[in-house]
Symmetry: C2
Subunit: 251 residues, 2 copies
DNA sequence: CCAAAAGTGTTGAAGTTACACCCATGC
DNA sequence: GCATGGGTGTAACTTCAACACTTTTGG
């Protein structure tokens, strides 16, 4: 494992980084965890960026992504998937980005290619906070973002595209919800990932037919309308299904 | 553009490479273009590898993949798609691979992460030949491959997986066929990519309904059975379709 | 009693699967 | 004339999209 107490620039690879697109869901819309780079970039462009960092020479890419996620949120064994590699030679040439790199990197001018990952995190399990990475960190609704540092906006869009594809094929959405949730919440989650309305009755029928939800005997409390049944994701049934072969959720 | 007549090690990035999975189709099965590393590795493991090389600091990843493909096959503007980034720290630790790297790289011990691309090439337009990369190059049926240099076997499988996914969604298979082809050839192509038999009648109905094929007035000649009509891919109709929104071939 | 979201079935259209025989050619 | 792959239609079934009203709760 990398050891941050040493002079880590001996181990950091100057040319390869990972960036993490950490998705959350606030029960209304899809959000992403961004870090605030603080004043150093003020006046020169976007302060917000995806969390990411150079990799260590002795860790593989997946480990690096997990490490960055862990260092930022303290979360381990979270759903993580590679988006791909990015890195035009000019990705670091915005003024604000250069200034920032000079403040944090040993070789701020180096050509960097970055490997992007996305991960799905239950927002309820992580409250953003300042960290080694960030003066501050926020959950920001994806729909409200229109610029980010470096090529991070492009990466975010690519990650969302992958998520969109993936959720049509595998029930990964559950990673974004608390352990107990209602079908309406799941419904809104799918709509906000796919960016289109889904018929309520058809959605429910389809998701229930898949047979990976267990309804609890419990209802919502304190809501000013008919309370919803709570469900939980049933990992056992899911394992069964994946073994009998199964890859189509077809939304 | 990189200039190979200079001392290119000034420009080559020691830590990032691209590898190309170049698929072909011999009208029977899916094949892939491999290079033979020659005797240097004999006795130590697989001689065959994917074509690939370090990137230049002033080219982006897509350019690098196109360059490698061009240098190897002379083919330009070929369908190319990123598979993802690979590169465990131990990927270069097979003995045979180390020996080879020492013979071709300035920094054979450097940590390298590689970005893999796959491309679809009409075999009829390229006859493998020795090149800067390779003592020799061959089209090898994918189903016959069970080991390759470095982590190239893993990369090949990942590329095939992406291709499998993609062909269900977009009609990219045409890139593997000569300009005139029969429906049976297309049928075999889909079967060999998807690794499963497809019903002949259903396949034809489905592919014709999509409406991106034009049948020519021409027939096969010299075959010892009823000659097949020849078709060609109709790019115009395809463009129409992609605009009206369209992403499901559903095989 | 009002507002708000939960929950529930049916119908028509489209798509999917499975399946068997005749045809045109080269040898 | 025989071997080979080309080419064709239908019926049963499943899936999909569209659509409106009643229920339960809090305030």
């Amino acid at each position: 494992m990398p050891n941050n107490t040493n002079n880590f620039s001996l181990e950091l690879n100057p040319n390869v980084s990972v960036d993490c697109v950490i998705f959350g869901f606030d029960l209304e819309q899809l959000t992403v965890l961004l870090i605030d780079r603080g004043e150093i970039s003020s006046g020169f462009g976007p302060r917000l960026a995806l969390p990411g960092n150079l990799i260590y020479d002795n860790e593989n890419l997946d480990m690096a992504a997990n490490r960055v996620l862990d260092e930022l949120t303290g979360l381990k064994s979270i759903y993580l998937e590679q988006v791909g590699a990015f890195g035009d030679p000019d990705r670091i040439h915005k003024q604000s980005d250069q200034a920032w790199l000079k403040s944090i990197r040993a070789e701020p001018e180096a050509r960097v290619i970055t490997v992007a990952y996305y991960s799905l995190v239950p927002m309820s399990k992580y409250k953003p906070q300042a960290s080694s990475f960030a003066k501050n960190a926020y959950w920001v609704p994806v729909s409200q973002i229109n610029e980010l540092a470096f090529d991070h906006y492009e990466i975010l869009q690519a990650a969302k595209g992958k998520l969109k594809q993936k959720i049509k094929i595998q029930p990964i959405g559950f990673n974004l919800l608390p352990t107990k949730f209602t079908l309406s919440q799941l419904h809104r989650l799918y709509e906000s990932i796919l960016d289109k309305p889904l018929d309520k009755r058809n959605f429910r029928r389809k998701i229930l037919k898949i047979n990976i939800l267990s309804s609890l005997r419990e209802k919502q409390r304190g809501v000013p309308h008919k309370p919803s049944l709570l469900y939980e994701f049933n990992e056992e049934k899911y394992q069964e299904l994946t073994q009998t072969g199964f890859d189509n959720f077809g939304f």
